[in-house]
Symmetry: C2
Subunit: 642 residues, 2 copies
């Protein structure tokens, strides 16, 4: 069901009950954009990846939260579900409420609107939210304001020494207003007198004059927004002390209610958190990051604190994308895009679990085509999860069915978040140390900025095929397909005036040293530096700054060398995070420089290149040594195949 | 009329004709937001103001461009008008097209949607645009791509040495696909074969295998986005050489057309520019900045270059807000908010000019209430302009009517852009030097960060009332109402351990020196630094950085002192640029610190303050010496009046 601020209050009790009585939950989010164009690198560590995600993606807004509750009925042996689609928009509820600025990515909005997303409804009826810190601050402010009001109503402003002299051209107008107020007060025909069409200065003069000439016990003046948000003065007759007190109480009640309402979606997240239920998502790192950042607390700079925060808020998480990329599924599933996964799980050897709506009209049927509506995607994710879980059960001796969310069979998949686009680390381990696969076969190479991937593959051709991951115009990581050639590379390629080759590990070590010597530089840069209109060069520069502030990221002197050349081919693209739709490739920022490598996670590089003077296009494939069965699902392609 | 990408192509000839045959044009824009929260200061110079506008406002998007053409008919002695509302949205037209990220301000979206603005239409049917540089780059890229295609079709990729070994688990799948392709090719039943549900890696393997096993002259494989943007492989039979050539020609034609279409709104701006017509706007600085930045070329860093750019693109501009704030209007017009202005001009002594639509359905009637639809506001602005102009004519001996756009009577108002919120400089002079009013009576004061405005007014109380304009938590500009007291202040207040008082001019001079010594710091900061989720403290810091890079902005050592205290009252607000709706006050960023001054342009400071331990609220007014008749229209108020 759709939840907006119009029915949010109503559904809360029902929602609370659904969450509490559920056996697990599935979530999904829709965003106004995905990434600012900052480049992820195939050899990012999870920590670096997080740093880039935090600095480059959190300025977008989660605008739809899908929540699907799943409940197991022992008697029928069946699950039922209930799905909620929350429209999320931080409309400021008062003049002192936060008025967030957020980023949009044009292609993401285009995508959402093409999927039928209703932005008018979003901006009109979206539910607000407050982080805990924002809520606390607003509650304190409100308390102060109410106290101040209580005091001011009993005292009077004595200090009129600094009042403004009324400019000559306004004396007539002010006198006229006083006559109108007198008229208003001397008969009971109207309930209020609206003084409209004056600018702030004139209104101020009126306030001042009224304060001087009229008894504040007999009347009351306030500013009110009228048609088209223009502001007018409204004069009303004074109330008796009792009425005044009553009105103030009502006002306080109203203010408190407004603030409670403003907590909005954040209260749903708190409910989910407090329930401690297993939470399922598909490729859910970005969802989790946004949910925490937007509704709870800004993402911490520290990666370990981030892990702590996630497990503190959501003690049990399962990512179906991670699960389906792992044994025993990886050989059975040729695409882990949610729609594809669902299709694959609908056939042999799987047995798609049928999950009916708990209540008519509050859920979906699998056959529905509502992809990219957050609630539907959450529902689909839950169905996929149950099917995967049951498949695990079917492999047991004796077979187990159903496999419930607390089954030990699920343990290997709990609290591991699928990591896109990193070559050799497939997940973030929320409760342990991340994998640190050996990178002896990876080299940091610097070279003339005229070089293209072809030149690199040529350079390394004696040692077999390579995986190239660009860093700057004049540097890249190069991974060998044949690891046993690593020493030979070092023996052969180290001496040259044109290029330099250094082991990945050595390079990282040197960078750490440079960083220690470079604290001053680091401290002068905030980690959240961003401008939507920044050129790719500026972005690259900033990306470097972010890299500098994370711990393990390499920095070579070449990073600071000229990066002025921005010549690029439309065909080349650098892919970052997960593009919409899901893993499918969207061209990203072809401005990012010359023929850069497009492939990232599949252990493969594929580039296109202008061939000599004829401008002929040729393909160059460079196969790497990464287990193709493992990450191949995310292999990307570029236009050159079309 | 509404113009979207659906009818944009059609209306172009008509539009071109309307612009060419018009006697003047009026424009207006609607934006996704106004300012990032960076504080403008009442003592900003126009140059500083521009620097802040450029760094803080240009990341928002102009989403609706209103254009109203006005034509004078000699025979009837009447003007007619035609109004256009362009929906503007940079939907990427291809994978290599720009995919802009832009900022939104929640309150601005809320405002627009409350005025009936249709965001679904915007994102679905908005017209794209390209700056000249973007267009040039895309044309070059397209040319290269087409050349490369021409060459590649005659050559063949010989290099298959680096092909990927097919993983065991995929051999069956690949073989199966080959059988399906063979079947497809061996009979004519289908026009194409769609291979769906494979991830990028598998698709890559298929490409590779097809290249090895099938004759490329007999078939063609391409990737195509199908339902929900997922990608599939599509196999078709090969074409004859002639058909292939024809298809390629069609493709090139299509690509060129796509690119032409993508220039969109920018071509309208070029038309307007080339027409050289007088362009009218109301409070049009922001409109002009956005139009140039978004559709033509990024705003230059240099203020003088900005002025040159504006006059180069639009040689004759008139700002009705500036005009109505000046003689002989300023005493007649108590509010220059567009709606108020129109109302005022509808009564004595003015004679509202009636401007009928040139064509039924292509314009407005004055009585319509379509405020904040860009086309309507442009229309209203044009009507106000004509009315103001005729009033000028009525003061002549003998009276002149009508006053046409080329009348010498308008000269004093041409190429002057109204400047909001600056105390003593009312406009930007596009073709001359900006005013530099004496600021002998203004002081830069530093003090303990616990101080509030009350403490400052107390400190200066012996010298009369003051205008306080906050800079940081511990510094402010203080302007004297009585200029003759300036020397006395310097004699009396200079010696203290608690605070320091320095002449504005001295302070500015010192800052310039500091800046010269501080080039290293400056060079390490881009002028476009921004994060929407930045705290007010971070924003303040950045604002300082921007100040540093502009020329005349003061910087005291106190700027770098602790600014950690973020305690604030909800009642206090700092206002920046022009809030929606127009000059009317919207609370802005109450996070910006303690009880800061709210008043800016009216020559008045008004603050609210927690009074001692009782927490009582008191008003403190500090009247300044600025000509109240001049800028009072923009005086702002804060909640304390309510």
């Amino acid at each position: 069901m759709e939840v907006t601020r119009l029915n949010f209050g109503e559904i809360i009790p029902e929602l609370e009950n659904d969450i509490t009585s559920s056996h697990f939950l599935a979530i999904d989010g829709e965003f106004t954009g995905l990434h600012t164009g900052q480049d992820f690198n195939a050899f990012d560590t999870p920590q670096q990846y997080y740093a880039k995600l935090r600095s480059g993606g959190m300025d977008f807004l989660l605008v739809q939260l899908g929540l699907c509750t799943f409940r197991y009925n022992k008697d029928t042996g069946q699950f039922t579900h209930k799905a909620y689609n929350f429209y999320v928009f931080p409309r400021p509820f008062s003049r002192s409420a936060p008025d967030p600025r957020f980023l949009c990515q044009s292609s993401s909005l285009d995508f959402l609107v093409s999927q039928g997303f209703d932005f008018n409804k979003l901006f009109k009826e979206g539910i607000p939210y407050l982080t805990e810190a924002e809520e606390k601050k607003l509650r304190e402010q409100l308390e102060e304001k109410q106290k101040a009001r209580a005091n001011s109503s009993s005292s009077k402003n004595e200090d009129s020494s600094a009042s403004i002299p009324i400019p000559e051209e306004h004396t007539e107008l002010i006198e006229d207003v006083c006559v109108r107020i007198n008229d208003f007060l001397s008969n009971d025909e109207q309930d209020e007198l609206i003084l409209d069409g004056y600018n702030g200065f004139v209104r101020k003069l009126i306030y001042q004059t009224v304060g001087e000439r009229f008894d504040s016990r007999s009347m009351h003046v306030e500013t009110r927004a009228i048609d088209n948000h223009n502001r007018a003065l409204v004069v009303t007759r004074a109330l008796s002390d009792e009425d005044r007190k009553k009105k103030e109480e009502e006002r306080q009640e109203q203010e408190k209610k407004e603030l409670d309402t403003a907590v909005g979606v954040s209260s749903v997240i708190r409910m989910i958190s407090q329930s401690g239920k297993l939470i399922i998502g598909h490729n859910m790192l970005l969802d989790i990051c946004h949910i925490l950042h937007q509704f709870c607390t800004p993402l911490p700079e520290s990666y370990s604190e981030f892990k702590e925060l996630v497990t503190f808020m959501f003690p049990r998480i399962l990512d179906t994308k991670y699960m389906s990329c792992m044994d025993p599924f990886k050989d059975q599933i040729s695409s882990t895009v949610l729609g594809h996964l669902h299709k694959t799980l609908s056939g042999e050897p799987f047995e798609l679990v049928n999950v009916a709506p708990a209540v008519e009209g509050r859920g979906y049927a699998s056959a529905e085509e509502k992809a990219h509506e957050a609630g539907y995607d959450a529902y689909l994710t839950g169905v996929c999860f149950l099917t995967l879980a049951n498949y695990l059960g079917s492999l047991e001796e004796p077979a187990k069915k159903p496999v419930l969310p607390n089954s030990p069979l699920l343990r290997p998949y709990i609290n591991r978040l699928h990591l896109m686009r990193v070559q050799d680390v497939t997940f973030i381990d929320l409760t342990g140390e991340d994998a640190e696969p050996p990178r002896d076969h990876v080299f940091h190479v610097t070279f003339p900025k005229e070089w293209k991937t072809y030149d690199l593959t040529q350079l390394f051709s004696p040692f077999g095929s390579v995986y190239v991951s660009w860093l700057t115009e004049a540097s890249a990581y190069v991974g060998l397909h044949r690891r046993d050639q690593a020493q030979l590379v070092l023996n052969t390629l180290t001496q040259s005036d044109t290029y330099s080759v250094e082991r990945y590990t050595e390079h990282v070590k040197r960078i750490k040293q440079t960083q220690r010597q470079c604290r001053c530089h680091r401290s002068s840069h905030s980690s959240q530096i961003y401008s939507p209109r920044a050129t790719s060069q500026q972005r690259k520069k900033r990306s470097l700054e972010v890299q500098l502030t994370s711990t393990v990221q390499p920095l070579s002197s070449s990073y600071n060398s000229a990066r002025k050349r921005s010549r690029s081919f439309g065909d080349f693209s650098i892919h970052s995070i997960e593009p919409i739709p899901e893993e499918e490739t969207e061209a990203e920022d072809s401005k990012s420089g010359k023929g850069t490598v497009a492939a990232v996670a599949g252990g493969l590089a594929k580039v296109k290149r202008k061939k000599g003077k004829q401008g002929a296009t040729a393909m160059f494939l460079a196969a790497a040594n990464i287990s193709t069965g493992k990450r191949k699902q995310e292999f990307e392609e570029c236009d050159s195949w079309e």
